[in-house]
């Protein structure tokens, strides 16, 4: 392999692996969007909250598993509380209202997280060594691989859950046709609770991985901005779309940074993913996997 090609592969692999991390955040959005049509802007704040809670507990001397269990419990409570106190009273409101409400929730969570645990940056060590290792001349980050494996496990877990449990099946029915599901006697509130808990868990996993990567700090809640182009590309309602789009966005972003950045100046990673995703959408309005729906009039 020529050095140039090896470098290219390295860039792509690095991008794909960070794409996994984007997908991780995007999946949290998809779960809620599919069942209640809400673009949950608070997902980023939940990521921050989970990471901050975990790292603060560890810093206060709790052993790793206990801190994990406690954070897990907290995230379940947070998810349920949001669903009960905010989303349920707003059922049947237009999507923009629900979106604004989650923006409000994001503010509350961000404020509360920092009020409770402080605003300083915490280092989070998951005990995974971040030394790159060599695969056929390409350097791959061990941590990134671990993150990808964990994300894969989580997606597999979610898939199993939705395929084989009653609530999971109900979730899919609701996602396909909320009205029909309601008529069939499915209990929507229960499903909503379930997806909010699930998105709390996804936030925890994303929070730990991103926190270990970037340090646990306020900017963690901005990972939501990384997830949005992924959602646009993959569709707000497709888990598979979130994963594939995450990989594409990750790779494209890295490639643009390395090969385009020198020409138009640095810092383009802030918007290049958006522009790429939108450009794709303008060509193919239904997104990666979406079906073009026929408007009923």
């Amino acid at each position: 392999m020529s050095p140039d090609l090896a470098f290219l592969v390295e860039v792509v692999v690095g991008g794909l692996l960070s794409g996994v991390m984007y997908a991780l955040v995007a999946i949290g959005f998809v779960l809620i969007y599919k069942t209640s049509g809400v673009l949950n802007f608070a997902q980023g704040a939940m990521v921050l909250f989970a990471a901050l809670t975990f790292v603060s507990l560890v810093e206060r001397g709790l052993p790793f598993p206990a801190a994990l269990a406690a954070t897990l419990a907290v995230m379940v409570v947070v998810g349920l509380t949001i669903e009960r106190t905010v989303l349920r009273p707003l059922v049947n409101q237009p999507p923009i209202t629900l979106f604004m409400a989650t923006l409000g929730v994001a503010y509350v969570i961000e404020g509360a997280a920092q009020l409770a645990w402080g605003t300083q940056v915490h280092a989070l060590d998951l005990g995974i060594d971040d030394t790159p290792f060599d695969v056929a001349g390409v350097l791959v980050s061990r941590f990134d691989l671990f993150a990808a494996a964990l994300a894969g496990l989580m997606v597999a877990g979610l898939t199993l859950f939705f395929r084989f449990t009653r609530t999971g099946l109900a979730f899919r029915a609701v996602a396909d046709d909320p009205l029909a599901a309601l008529n069939a006697g499915l209990r929507l509130p229960r499903i909503w609770s379930a997806v909010w808990i699930a998105s709390g868990l996804v936030a925890l996993v994303a929070g730990l991985l991103w926190g270990a990567r970037l340090g646990v700090q306020f900017s963690l809640s901005l990972v939501v901005l990384k997830a949005l182009p992924v959602l646009v590309l993959g569709g707000f309602d497709s888990i598979a779309g979130a994963i594939v789009a995450g990989l594409i966005v990750g790779a494209a972003e890295k490639l643009a940074e390395v090969y385009l950045g020198p020409f138009i100046g640095g810092g383009i990673e802030g918007w290049i993913a958006y522009v790429a995703a939108l450009a794709f959408l303008l060509v193919k309005p239904s997104g990666l996997f979406g079906l073009r729906s026929v408007e009923r009039v």
Binding site: V294, E295, V297
Partner: protein, 301 residues
């Protein structure tokens, strides 16, 4: 075409001048001043990803004619209207509106072509009030620019006054005066249907497409709405394509009836011809998976 028997006059001939139906309940039908075709549909076919909505539909509507399209649920009636008004893109066939012929009707030019429509599910501008909804029916007739309106230039003021007069005329015709300033979304269902008709009528269309204007109405409301539809035709000379499930209403209102079943046209003719058509009767009575209501109505009719 399908192998179903056709009692109706073969398609393609101009609408024949035929004797008035000797039905006491039938309203006075206008002697048509012209035989002008307003709408011609030729071989129109539409499917959604394998499922056929309708196929090979032919239809001819003359100026001032009330032409009902009936058929069991799922027969493709609404899809046909949506294709005629350009919301769906048919795979084959043509739609001619006046002199202009289209493979796909441009929905945005519909108003300019002199076509207005109502929707099966209400499609009012819910937060606008009744007057504003009706005025919005003149969106296509607007000439004065935004700046003229914002600055209150004479041209804009004249236009606004003229449009208001036209809206008031329709409000009078459809007896909506008492609800003028109410938000459309806050009105009861039957009134919303009427406002939608008013919005469609205010532009004085040559062709009006009504997709179930009386769905879900009581008998009294239906009678009232039938009156409005006839009044609209009398006042504006509008040709009307009407989808309606209540066969009694259809028989009383229509000059011509086209029957669809499973996306095929099985008959076209006068109300009396349709009533006696065995294919139609078979389609209605044989369709036991359809609404009871529909069956009951055809028997009653």
């Amino acid at each position: 075409m399908s192998g179903l028997p056709h009692r109706a006059a073969p398609f393609g001939r101009p609408a024949p001048s035929r004797p008035l139906v000797p039905d006491a309940a039938a309203p006075r039908r206008r002697a048509r001043a012209s035989q002008d075709r307003i709408l011609t549909v030729e071989g129109l076919s539409l499917g959604f990803g394998g499922a056929v909505a309708f196929a090979g539909i032919d239809l001819a509507v003359a100026a001032g004619e009330i032409h009902a399209i009936i058929g069991p649920n799922g027969a493709g009636k609404s899809s046909l209207i949506n294709a005629i008004s350009g919301l769906y893109a048919p795979q084959a066939g043509r739609v001619r509106i006046g002199e202009a012929s289209f493979a796909r009707v441009p929905a945005g030019r519909l108003a300019a072509l002199g076509v207005a429509r109502t929707f099966q599910n209400l499609a009012l501008f819910k937060s606008l009030n009744v007057v504003e909804n009706i005025l919005s029916g003149l969106a296509g007739a607007r000439r004065a620019g935004l700046a003229a309106h914002v600055l209150g230039l004479p041209a804009a003021r004249r236009e606004a006054a003229e449009h208001r007069t036209r809206a008031e005329a329709v409000i009078d015709l459809l007896q909506l005066g008492a609800f003028r300033a109410r938000a459309a979304g806050s009105l009861p269902y039957g009134l919303q249907k009427r406002v939608e008709l008013a919005r469609a009528l205010v532009a004085k269309p040559r062709l009006l497409l009504l997709d179930e204007p009386m769905a879900g109405m009581s008998a009294a409301e239906k009678a009232e709405m039938s009156g409005f539809i006839l009044a609209a035709r009398e006042t504006f000379g509008t040709a009307i394509v009407l989808i309606e499930h209540d066969i009694g209403v259809v028989m009383r209102l229509s000059d011509t009836i086209t029957v669809l079943d499973h996306g095929r046209r099985i008959a076209t003719g006068t109300p009396t011809e349709i009533q006696a058509n065995p294919a139609v009767i078979a389609a209605y009575l044989g369709a036991d998976d359809e609404e009871d209501e529909t069956e009951g109505e055809v028997k009653a009719a």
